[in-house]
């Protein structure tokens, strides 16, 4: 379980997170929604230690992320995988090298074993036969799938998704949503998804949390979110300017 308690973060004069507290249950998919620039990506990056909160606590199991030494952070990160908004594939490496990099760095597996594991993960995300292609040769949807395969290669307990459907057409968005649900169920991982795509949020979330003005203003089931009377939630669900 991931427990976030009273996390604050500011960049210069701009306060981004102002006392965020949230619990992510084990083996479920939690979706964090909110308007653009509300701090949801900062919260996601804080969970894996890419952003250092000014104060508060983020516990991953028994480990504290906030203020952790670099060495401890790397140890904690081995339990995580992350899919970035733009996939963040390494341009200079092939698809197979991208996916297998963590195995090469952290295990003593042979080239052939790594190759097999890479092929296995590519099949999980519905791709095959593209091992030797470079990221520049892939479509947006394929890049996201390869990014997910890379995130899954070390069999993580937690997978973080930063805007997984942003920039994709509706068909590919649906395919990615199904992939997230399928991966979560098949591998039993804990998924944390940051998005402002409500179709995606209702489709994949076991739990939805909404950030507004740097705070969690709603935390509950998708059904409770849909029927919430909170003005900020109603406005977000309806997509209007007024609450």
């Amino acid at each position: 379980m991931i427990t976030i308690h009273d996390v604050h973060k500011r960049f210069g004069e701009k306060r981004v997170l102002e006392g965020v507290s949230l619990t992510i249950p084990e083996g479920k998919t939690a979706v964090i929604v909110g308007c653009s620039g509300c701090g949801k990506t900062v919260l996601l990056r804080s969970i894996i230690g890419l952003v250092s909160p000014d104060s508060g606590s983020i516990r991953v199991g028994e480990d504290e992320v906030v203020g952790a030494e670099r060495r401890d952070l790397f140890r904690i990160r081995r339990r995580f995988g992350m899919l970035f908004q733009g996939a963040a594939l390494f341009d200079s490496l092939t698809v197979a090298e991208n996916i297998g990099l963590a195995l090469r760095e952290h295990t003593r597996l042979s080239r052939q074993e790594i190759r097999n594991r890479v092929r296995e993960k590519l099949e999980v995300v519905g791709l095959s036969g593209i091992e030797d292609r470079k990221p520049a040769e892939l479509s947006g949807g394929m890049r996201k799938r390869v990014g997910l395969a890379r995130a899954l290669i070390m069999d993580p307990r937690y997978v973080l998704f930063d805007e997984p459907t942003t920039g994709l057409d509706p068909v590919m968005s649906d395919a990615i949503n199904r992939l997230i649900i399928g991966t979560q169920r098949r591998l039993g991982i804990t998924a944390i998804v940051v998005t402002h795509d409500m179709t995606s949020a209702f489709g994949i979330g076991d739990k939805i949390a909404m950030i507004s003005d740097g705070r969690i203003v709603f935390e509950g089931t998708p059904e409770a979110f849909r029927t919430s009377a909170l003005p900020a939630v109603k406005q977000f669900v309806r997509g209007g300017l007024d609450g």
Binding site: L50, Q85, E105, M154
Partner: protein, 257 residues
């Protein structure tokens, strides 16, 4: 007006100290990657190839013409005062001590330092460096350490090569255009040859190479602001590297000679 000037000087001093501190900290962190680079030798070899082998065409052209110009200019200064029999010695000393290390350093600063900053800067703004972090791979060990070590190793190698090519350029001009015989050119160069000059030049190259790569990495890692930021980092890396080489050249010259 005076307080404004003092504030400006203070800000510049703080900026300079912060920059130096950032670079030194990165170097210190990269220095802990020794064991990692022994296991991942291919990362180092790849960078040695990029920094060293791929710089050869440019270094060849620069060195050949540097030697040629040195010969021609020395002859201009000697005319009517000193015998051309000493031309080889003068050209050789200038190449070994100053011309090869500094000009090769500046060429590599333009080609390698700027390209490292652009490459790592692009990786930063496209979240590739963050992706490395999430895979529990230290970007300083994986990206910076091989580049910095390759810079330290390959620049002296390039300067050795540059020394040879520049001597050839100097000799060609002396022989073909100034009527200096082969024996006279290389004889005088050999007579006044000092091992100290070669060692000093290579020592300069060692610092220039490591410094250029370090500056490229440090600036690349701190890139922000998309394509515009990458462009700014590339220019900054070249400017800082060039300034570093010229200042370091002066400091080492006062220490070594």
């Amino acid at each position: 007006m005076i307080s404004g000037l003092a504030q400006r000087i203070g800000r510049l001093t703080l900026f300079f100290l912060r920059e130096v501190g950032t670079h030194v900290l990165l170097l210190a962190r990269a220095a802990t990657a020794g064991g990692y680079l022994l296991r991942r030798r291919h990362l180092l070899i790849e960078q040695m190839h990029k920094i060293g082998v791929r710089s050869l065409p440019l270094v060849t052209i620069v060195s050949l013409f540097t030697g040629a110009v040195a010969s021609w200019q020395a002859a201009y200064q000697f005319r009517g005062l000193i015998s051309f029999d000493y031309l080889g010695a003068a050209v050789s000393a200038a190449i070994l001590i100053e011309l090869s290390p500094v000009l090769t350093g500046l060429v590599v600063a333009g080609r390698v330092g700027a390209s490292i900053a652009a490459e790592l800067g692009t990786m930063r703004v496209t979240e590739q460096i963050d992706a490395l972090e999430t895979l529990a791979i230290d970007p300083v060990h994986y990206l910076a350490a091989p580049r910095i070590l390759a810079g330290f190793i390959m620049m002296p190698a390039l300067v050795i090569y540059s020394n040879l090519v520049a001597h050839a350029g100097g000799y060609l001009v002396a022989y073909s255009m100034l009527d200096v015989s082969t024996a006279a050119f290389f004889g005088s160069a050999r007579r006044y040859f000092l091992v100290h000059n070669v060692v000093a030049g290579l020592l300069k190259a060692f610092f220039f190479g490591g410094g250029t790569a370090l500056i490229g990495c440090s600036i690349g890692f701190r890139t922000a602001g998309g394509a515009e930021g990458v462009g700014a980092s590339t220019i900054r890396a070249f400017v800082y590297s060039s300034a570093f080489i010229l200042v370091m050249d002066y400091i080492l010259a006062t220490l070594l000679f």
